[in-house]
């Protein structure tokens, strides 16, 4: 398995439990075929790239996902939209394409921002 594939699988573990912080030992239980040091390297790499947040609790290092998979996909889409000539039309279409729940969340977030 390539390092990139393993990084992806490790991230899946974090995205499955988005609110939890996991220690290296806890992550290794999901990958019994891989050595502890390999998983540790992968976690450090992901933290360096900014996909994981590393925290020190006593002598243990714990990791949590910096953002959900959906957040990353949205950021990729928004990056693409920023290059368009007619941003307003595309952003309007983007808003229309969102599920009603997400639209409400966005509208709440924008209102909160504009109140600040």
């Amino acid at each position: 398995m390539k390092l990139g594939d393993l990084e992806r699988e490790v991230m899946e573990v974090f995205w499955a439990e988005p609110s939890r912080s996991l220690t290296v030992r806890e992550v290794t239980t999901h990958f019994p075929k891989h050595a502890y040091t390999t998983i540790m390297t992968i976690l450090s790499r992901l933290a360096t790239k900014g996909f994981l947040i590393e925290e020190k609790i006593g002598r243990l290092n714990s990791f949590s996902a910096a953002a959900s998979r959906e957040d990353y996909i949205t950021s990729l889409i928004l990056e693409a939209l920023s290059g368009t000539h007619d941003r307003q039309a595309v952003l309007a279409r983007f808003a229309e394409s969102m599920p009603p729940g997400d639209r409400k969340y966005f509208s709440r977030m924008f209102n909160r921002r504009s109140e600040k």
Partner: protein, 301 residues
């Protein structure tokens, strides 16, 4: 012909006259690779001859090789007095030559680094979050309803489509879009994109600087269309192009399925078939340009 007059003639032709005439010339729509070769030759020859012209004025030599002029300038530089014996006109010429050269190199490096960084970051994110379609195993699929399809150049390259694009296009159209994006990969269009974006902010009042980026981009798209037409049926590609108004732009440094030039691309798809013989014309254009570069630098025809 003297070096100065040859450089003036080439500069004016490549920077002003040829782009003005060729901009609306549709003959290259049939041969986009020839169009690419001609416009690239115009860009290289135009800016090179402008730099050579300024250098010749600066070095005070209207005849003879530019190399020998640069040699004597280097010798003066070695003595610590590079401007010794030069008049106002020569100093202005030299500074203009170095300004243009530094601006272009600086912009090329800055744009290259920015785009490479952006592509790398984008690629690692795509690798992390994208799924893969069973039918198109090497295509990255983003689970999002916004229709989007683009090719991300760089190490290995990535063809990225969203679930929205998969839903909007039929399977034949999707195959055509993927073949088009692979055409960008095959033609190494990513490198063209860097030079286009590096040179586009330059002096917009010069016709070549104003029109070359858009025109070259259009020929890159047509060239990728031709690649796709060799892989899929024309109607599939036409169907996909007919739906591009639903698609958004691509991120910085990527090449996407967008509404740009779609009507012109559809028109040429209906009237022409993919050409392979244009390679001979491309070779002719490139070799003619190289011999002209040689003449400009040496100062004689």
């Amino acid at each position: 012909m003297t070096g100065v007059s040859l450089a003036i003639a080439t500069s004016v032709t490549c920077l002003v006259v040829a782009p003005t005439l060729l901009r609306s010339w549709r003959r290259f729509d049939t041969y986009p690779r020839v169009g690419l070769a001609v416009w690239s030759a115009l860009v290289i020859l135009g800016w090179l001859s402008a730099i050579v012209l300024f250098l010749r004025v600066g070095l005070g030599e209207s005849r003879g090789s530019l190399v020998s002029g640069l040699g004597s300038f280097a010798a003066r530089l070695g003595d610590g007095h590079p401007l010794r014996g030069l008049g106002f006109r020569e100093v202005v010429g030299l500074s203009l030559a170095f300004d243009v050269l530094l601006l272009m190199l600086g912009s090329l490096i800055r744009t290259g680094v920015t785009i490479a960084f952006n592509r790398r970051r984008h690629r690692s994110l795509v690798d992390l979050v994208a799924g893969h379609s069973d039918a198109l195993i090497d295509v990255c699929v983003l689970a999002h309803p916004q229709p989007l399809a683009y090719f991300l150049p760089g190490r290995g390259g990535r063809v990225v489509v969203t679930q929205g694009a998969v839903d909007v296009l039929s399977s034949a159209e999707l195959e055509a879009v993927v073949a088009h994006e692979r055409g960008h990969h095959h033609g190494r269009h990513g490198a063209w994109l860097i030079s286009l974006q590096a040179l586009s902010p330059f002096v917009q009042f010069i016709p070549l600087a104003r029109w070359a980026p858009t025109t070259v981009r259009m020929y890159l798209e047509m060239s990728a269309d031709d690649f796709a037409r060799r892989q899929v049926h024309r109607s599939a590609l036409e169907g996909a192009l007919g739906k591009v108004s639903l698609f958004s732009a691509a991120p910085l440094g990527a090449m996407g399925l967008t509404n740009d030039f779609s009507s012109r691309r559809l028109e040429r798809l209906a009237t022409s078939s993919p050409y392979l013989l244009d390679l001979a014309v491309v070779v002719a254009v490139v070799s003619a340009s190289l011999s002209l570069v040689w003449s400009i630098v040496l100062g004689h025809l």
